[in-house]
Symmetry: D2
Subunit: 271 residues, 4 copies
């Protein structure tokens, strides 16, 4: 199966780039599934149901979230009506929405997509190690699902790498989000799980992680609340990772980063 995962979509610049490029990428790369982290899609903070539908319409099959899940209060009410939106699975029991979903392709193949938050330097949610292992014990790769994608929304590289190794052999892809910075450490781990500690962001990189520079810099320097942070509006780079999996085992065979548009160095998978 040919899968593209896109990092945090930030604001209008990020959305416009994703909406413009995903249709052609699906064709050019013969993609079977496209997943994107959309926690910053609505003006940098959260995801509205309307924007979730726009992203679906352009070819994003499943959207994941993160610490900004509930920035848009309307999503709290609407998330249960959005079957292809996934929020972190380690929120407490009773949290609206779902922590994972099984997306079924037109040809019947099944893809588990889950979202989990790290705890180091972040909100202390339930244990991401235990919860992802329990999830992957229920959805067996190569048995009940053809592929399994885990979006690890976390700050610390150590926690992301640890989770990658913990799930190695049980997921097709463990991919980090949240730092808004693409990493060059993508690889297939020992037991066949593809890994990248951060997919990067789909946003304007002439910024502070997607936000306009002046206001973001002022917060660090002045230590006062200032103007509200606004997403940067220059051309976005669409950033993510593509993998190809073996449908029999669900494990990864090929892996390559993708960076298209905007000011970052450009790369596109060649398989």
């Amino acid at each position: 199966m040919r899968i593209l995962f896109l990092g945090d979509i930030v604001g209008r610049a990020g959305r416009d780039a994703v909406i413009a490029r995903v249709p052609e990428l699906r064709k050019r790369l013969s993609l079977d599934v496209v997943i994107a982290n959309a926690e910053n899609a609505s003006h940098g903070f959260g995801l509205s149901a309307a924007i979730a539908r726009d992203l679906s319409a352009c070819g994003v099959d499943v959207m994941t979230l993160g610490n900004h899940s509930w920035d848009r209060k309307d999503l709290v009410a609407e998330i249960d009506g959005l079957p292809n939106v996934v929020r972190p699975l380690n929120y407490p029991p009773g949290t609206p929405g779902q922590g994972s979903t099984v997306f079924t392709l037109a040809d019947g193949r099944r893809v588990l997509v889950a979202n989990v938050m790290g705890r180091l330097f972040m909100d202390p949610l339930d244990d991401p190690f235990r919860m992802t292992q329990e999830l992957l014990a229920r959805h067996r790769l190569g048995m009940t699902v053809h592929a399994a994608i885990i979006d690890v929304h976390a700050e610390a590289s150590s926690e992301k790498w640890a989770l990658g190794h913990a799930l190695d052999g049980k997921a097709s892809l463990v991919i980090g989000t949240h730092t808004h910075t693409p990493t060059a450490d993508h690889r297939i781990l020992t037991r066949g799980t593809a890994f990248q500690s951060d997919a990067g962001m789909c946003g304007d990189y002439d910024s502070v992680i997607g936000m306009q520079k002046e206001a973001a810099l002022a917060r660090f320097v002045r230590k006062m609340p200032g103007e509200r942070l606004q997403p940067a509006e220059g051309e976005a780079t669409v950033a993510g990772l593509m993998i190809e999996t073996d449908d029999a085992t669900g494990l990864a065979r090929k892996i390559a980063p993708l960076r298209q548009g905007g000011i970052l160095s450009q790369t596109i998978p060649d398989f």
Copy 2:
């Protein structure tokens, strides 16, 4: 000037790879200066004077440190005798060692190298924004120094990007360290400063940020102190960034990542 900056050297694997490769890289890439972060060079924790000398001998001109600066207590006593070792400049007044140094090439060109720590999710040291700006007001790029390299040892991508923009036009290179993960966001900022939010590590990437997997994973899962963390001992990837600067202005003209050896995707500058 042709400059190579290498990310955190971790343990024997990292040292061996740096010592083996730097001599040939200096020739092949016609490097004028090589700088490396060495805060994890001694068995993953700190830098001993003996290892500092070994790294110097192989062609590392200046070494920077970070939150592990004082893991080796002997360095506290010895650092003042090591003119090419730089510790974070935002430690309190009275801290042993120096926060920056001006390294002079054989041909007389002068390169400022400084090390500064971020404060987000890290120890609250003095203000890295103010201190680097004061430093670069004293050492004017293209005037008193031909190049200026700032190693921003920090956890949060936002703080690193903010510091990059804050120093844009005043330094040749602002480069992150500490996450032990190379980022694919290298670029030359608007006013001519090269930037990468993390140089990555020189270490074995089949690990948790350079440490053996089992013990590092156990800490996250079991929440008990366990075995001491040990550096992973597989072949290291030497990871860093190369830039070429204009000696007249000190600003960057070219930029490219370098990843050689080990299990990461390989790349070498082609200029």
Copy 3:
């Protein structure tokens, strides 16, 4: 000199209690100076200029702030016109307002009042140890000022105690704020400085640190943003510490906590 310091005034309940009680307390306890932390006076978040004037009018001579200093944006513009309001002195240079003030009594005696923020588990500001020591080197107790009061607005008890010892003999009183919990560890330190690690809050204690229980509890349990936190509105306890100092040395001779009104155990200084 007879000095009363009151902890964080929270919302209407806290203000009403302070305004009702301070005039009688000034008389009953023959107070020379009353200081109060007012960072939560305006509906729990910040201090408006109007409320600062109300508190002044009732007999609060100097008000201190903390991490909520700028919750009311209007104070940023107005603080320079409020000579008896003090914000943390370890904000960066250029921050509006003042980090300390010398309040002069009708009889000419001078009282230094400063506010400083801790850094452990809080925003990384400038070094509170260095800055308070520099301040107290400029304002010599028993020489240029008759008393010196340092409000240490901090989370960690260890940092507050460390600062108490660091300033012992140089200040009349080092008193903690921010936890909204009165501590029973008040005492006069070895070299004569009075100390209490937290003065407590002037607010309704049938609450979560002054905020209504249900919403505050929901945040911990549900891990979602919910209703906005609102100050609890039951009768407040006015909580603080009284000291008597020797005008010749500025050091403390007597110390006793004060808790009046509301549901906490009641106590009033008997000297």
Copy 4:
């Protein structure tokens, strides 16, 4: 039932004071049960089995722990043989030891004692709210147990207060530990649960939370590892809280702090 809870016992000074005073306090106050937090009993860091036995022998019926539970590695092996030692119940499944115990008095009355850690500014363990509520659903106050004591080992006053309200009516006492600072906010909550946000420490208060001043202060000021922290060795104050409960309901009828010996203000329950 007449219950005394003592805060964190720190080092030899704390142990000596507890061992000297508990026998007379049991008599004088007609105590039925004595519980103490012992996470710092062994030279400030952890609890050895030998010291656990010494504390038992002097009349401490149950000991609780905290973030220092495993500082003494030998306790990991020995804790399962110590039926009256309780470690935080929100460690991951599989952690040695027990998170709660039911202590049976000579007359057959049963007292549940549990230990739980907060997560704000601390290690992200399992949810303390959910786990204590599940525990108290299994052990019904006034039904299966005559009293229930919950030691909330936590940094943030807000989290302790929130947990107090969450358990109000379901426990006899919710008492904080960890800050090593006795608070003056003890009271019986609306539905009958006694509460104090911190019991304080049994240790020498001429210190930084029980550790010798110079080394503890140096860490804040110098930002370098220095001498190892050592417990202060002056006379300790035994600090804690006494409650009297109604055996029929398990709820609290009376509450008063206790501070005996050392340099803090002295108080002893008068009921």
